[in-house]
């Protein structure tokens, strides 16, 4: 499945300054793994060592937060748009 992933500004420095990528992946986890093979170390910014999404990072497939679905195992289909968003926090 070819999907589009949007990369937040803070992570672009680790992805050759790209704001968007076309990637083949069947699930969100596979998408992040494939991104990591292109840009080593990128996945660790999104997923912690227990394999969970970092607390203050959100991932949307189209407009759905993956936490409200199957998390990193959320399935992807051709043409989906995946957005990685740092959570809004602070005061």
């Amino acid at each position: 499945m070819s999907v589009t992933v949007k990369i937040p500004i803070a992570l672009r420095q680790y992805a050759q300054d790209k704001s968007e990528l076309e990637i083949d992946a069947g699930t969100v986890r596979e998408l992040l793994q494939n991104m990591d093979s292109l840009f080593h170390g990128l996945m660790a910014f999104v997923v912690d060592e227990s394999g969970e999404l970092r607390r203050y990072v959100n991932v949307f497939v189209n407009h759905e937060d993956v936490r409200s679905g199957e998390g990193l195992m959320t399935k992807l289909k051709d043409g989906d748009q995946v957005t990685i968003v740092p959570a809004v926090a602070g005061g």
């Binding site: 803070a10 992570l11 420095q13 680790y14 080593h40 170390g41 660790a44 910014f45 999104v46 912690d48 060592e49 227990s50 394999g51 970092r54 203050y56 990072v57 740092p86 959570a87 926090a89």
Partner: protein, 368 residues
């Protein structure tokens, strides 16, 4: 025949809450140029220059959103490489790296080795100059670990010290755990906290649980180490087998940073704070204290520093010396000031202010 003159450049590396800064000057250290913010927006807990290759700066970077990592620059901060495999505990450990606190180039005879200390209490080694990191399982899975209790700063491993006379000997300092020593290159670790007080525990002299704030080695005598602890300043003259408190003469034994003179044995600097429940300059005087005899006596150094109603404080990595003669001394505050002395502490000058809170100060002296 003409001889080429050597030019000296002094760099002061600042890790701050909002990124990193580098201040540059020549050997006179009168005027400074500032670069930054580098690694913009991410808290940088520590930066260190690798004297072995003469070019690499390592930074312990902790993004609120994206977690901790180690980054490397080989061009003095213009570009940074991210660790491809950052420090992470083993999957079966149940532990997660919260913050990277300290990064330390390894021994001289292992030029590609770099070590990192993290919270909660973890030691990691890279054998490829920072690209990939592996946990030191002997320390991270120490048999006593389940009894390690975090202090206010968490269980941070903030000090990593190598013995230049014995490539197998190394030390680490962990807040609210104490000092541990390895005699076999990190394959096993033993506590070395004898005579170090833990006032906050029912047993004041336990085997472990002491809250070391910073640990450093004498520049000439590798069996001599110094520690600024939650409960006093201490020295050892026998490779940490026994410690002796040397707080007498200081306004307070409490403090965080420590900086050793680059050339003179038994000469180092501390910054006393009032105490555990008021973490600001002791007596509201922003004074650095210097000893030239391993803490037998202390001199207050305050000329040029805020001398009254000064409620500033310093983090544990907040003080450093350069390698010139006379040595420069630098102290950064939690409120974003950087003071320096070019006469080994006798007089001080403010060289930067309005920076984000300064987490760490270190130096790189280059002869070009």
């Amino acid at each position: 025949m003409t001889s080429k003159k050597t030019k000296t450049q002094v760099n002061v590396l600042l890790g701050t809450r909002k990124g990193a800064f580098i201040l540059q000057s020549d050997a006179r250290r009168r005027s400074w140029k500032m670069k930054g913010p580098l690694l913009k927006s991410s808290p940088v807990f520590h930066m260190t220059f690798d004297k072995r290759d003469g070019e690499t700066i390592y930074a312990a970077v902790n993004s609120f959103h994206f977690g901790p990592t180690i980054q490397m620059s080989r061009d003095f901060g213009k570009t940074w490489d991210n660790a491809e495999k950052p420090p992470r505990f083993a999957e079966d450990s149940g532990l997660k790296v919260e913050n990277a606190w300290h990064v330390e180039p390894g021994p001289a005879d292992e030029p590609d080795d770099v070590y990192a200390g993290v919270a909660p209490a973890g030691l990691f080694r890279s054998s490829d100059r920072g690209k990939t990191w592996e946990p030191n399982r002997a320390l991270n899975e120490h048999s006593t670990r389940s009894n390690w209790q975090p202090g206010a700063g968490g269980l941070c491993l903030h000090s990593i010290v190598f013995d230049p006379s014995n490539s197998k000997r190394m030390y680490v300092g962990i807040s609210a755990v104490g000092v541990l020593k390895s005699e076999d290159g990190g394959q096993s670790w033993n506590f070395k906290n004898k005579n170090v007080r833990a006032d906050f525990l029912p047993n004041k002299f336990p085997e472990f649980g002491q809250c070391v704030h910073k640990l450093l080695m004498d520049p000439k005598k590798p069996d001599h180490l110094y520690q600024q602890n939650h409960c006093g300043v201490y020295r050892t003259e026998d490779s940490a087998e026994n410690w002796k408190e040397i707080s007498a003469g200081l306004p307070s034994g409490f403090g965080f940073p420590l900086a050793v003179h680059p050339h003179d044995s038994e000469r180092f600097y501390v910054f006393p704070e009032e105490g555990d429940f008021f973490r600001a300059a002791a007596n509201s005087e922003f004074a650095v204290y210097e000893t030239v005899n391993a803490g037998r006596t202390w001199k207050k150094r305050i000329k040029g520093l805020p001398a009254a109603e000064a409620y500033l404080g310093c983090f544990r990595e907040g003080m450093a010396t350069d390698e010139l003669d006379p040595a420069g001394v630098y102290v950064g505050t939690r409120m974003g000031h950087l003071f320096h002395s070019t006469d080994e502490g006798k007089t001080w000058r403010l060289i930067a202010q309005w920076l984000p809170p300064i987490h760490s100060v270190s130096t790189a002296t280059l002869n070009m």
